[in-house]
Amino acid sequence: MSGTRPGEPACSAGPGDAARAAGVTGISVSNPDLPGPGATSPGGTRIGRPARRLRHAEHVMGTVFSFDVPASAAPVLPEVLSWLHWVDATFSTYSGGSDVCRFGRGELTLAECAPELAEVIAECAVIKEQSDGYFTAWSGARFDPSGLVKGWSIERASNMLSAAAKTGPSGTGPSGTGASGTGHSVNGAGDMQCTGEPERGRPWRVGVAHPLHPSALAVIVAGRDFAVATSGTAERGAHIINPHTGLPATELASVTVVGPRISTADAYATAAFAMGGAAREWAESLDGYEVFAVAPDGATWQTSGFAAYTAPA
């Protein structure tokens, strides 16, 4: 699929898998760094940052999920983290015993798998249709929905936090103390869903890493209930395959998609990256999603509606 990593094992039990599996099971969800219910983050009083906010970084799915949540979300966070590790185990293409691998080998029917797999496959099909096949969960005969799973799980994790905030204890709403916002962000390896505000009256500000200049930003986007996803070669090389040619996509250095849902934005970013130069016209046709791209020579382009998201540096 677009999003597959050439040369990496899929659904096999190579020597690397044991180490990775051990790493996953070795992570304690009851992280001692997490404050107990009602506690505030030790760093929540950092200057220039409102109190009553909590940051947490969780190693899962071979990457890191960063949470920026109101402190009132502390009680639900362990449940969210636990769910992400379940997704990792169920959808892993590294562990031969996962539902995804067993389904891919024909050992399980879809009905015998976790129902979430059918949900992911249905969403893959929608994006495949919308992207002229540039996004697909099938690479030849190999089944790998990884390109959708991360964005989908970020979105589900964000939804779990939102649901808990609605039913949570009173006093965490707008009447809370200080200028601390009640919104949250879930950033999975550089793709994120943001809700509400990090501080009252201020939108989220998300820097887009410059693909050609590490530590520099290519652009800053701002918004309240929105998602930001970026695909590129800066971190893991030319790992996105153009499914129509079977070759790694190299026409762009990175593609950033902004819109309401991270699941869709992430898949669109992967598809646009696989398209390369042709993505510009396709991106303009997307409904509700805006695109910003950097070419390998540093040139940039963006869709006509992207400016609505750009923020001053």
């Binding site: 760094d33 983050s41 760093g43 009083t45 950092r46 200057i47 220039g48 940052r49 906010r53 940051r55 947490h56 970084a57 190693h59 071979g62 990457t63 890191v64 960063s66 920026d68 991360k150 962000s185 950033n187 390896a189 550089g190 793709d191 994120m192 943001c194 990090p198 989220w204 500000r205 998300v206 820097g207 887009v208 890493a209 410059h210 693909p211 050609l212 200049h213 590490p214 530590s215 520099a216 930003l217 290519a218 652009v219 800053i220 986007v221 930001v228 996803a229 970026t230 695909s231 590129g232 070669t233 800066a234 971190e235 893991r236 990175s254 950033t256 540093g298 540096a313």
Partner: protein, 164 residues
Amino acid sequence: MRRVVLALGGTVAGLVMLLSFRSHLASTASAGVTAGSGGTGTSPGSSSAAGSGSSAASGAAAASAPVSAGSGTGTAVTGDAIATPYGPTQVQVTLNAGKIVKVTVLQHTDDGINSQMIDGHALPLLNSETLTAQSTKIDAVSGASYTSAGYIKSLQSALDKASA
């Protein structure tokens, strides 16, 4: 030459992370003085466009020795001297309200004329990028998917550390 720039970039990124950790401690310690003053430091980096389009211009402006950028006042913190294949490098940063407002290079790499040429171009560029990234208030970073190992070097990791 590009390899040298990248090597320096890695070193400086590491320093920035280290310093952002220290800046957390520093700003906590001086809470009584700087509380709530998130934007008081001048931030010359952010006046240029985010990204590297501005690096050539800032490089030319800052090429005259001593190599430093920024004009803010605050607490100066000196990083450890880092050994590189091209000689030691050491920077000092000035912090104000938890942000880097000035970067001064105390030790350049010293590996002959090549090194001087590279330093003359790369160090101002890195200054500019450090200031741009540090002085621009952002909540999160979107970028190409990193692995667990890649996260350690990421700006997102520095943000998580600085605020956790």
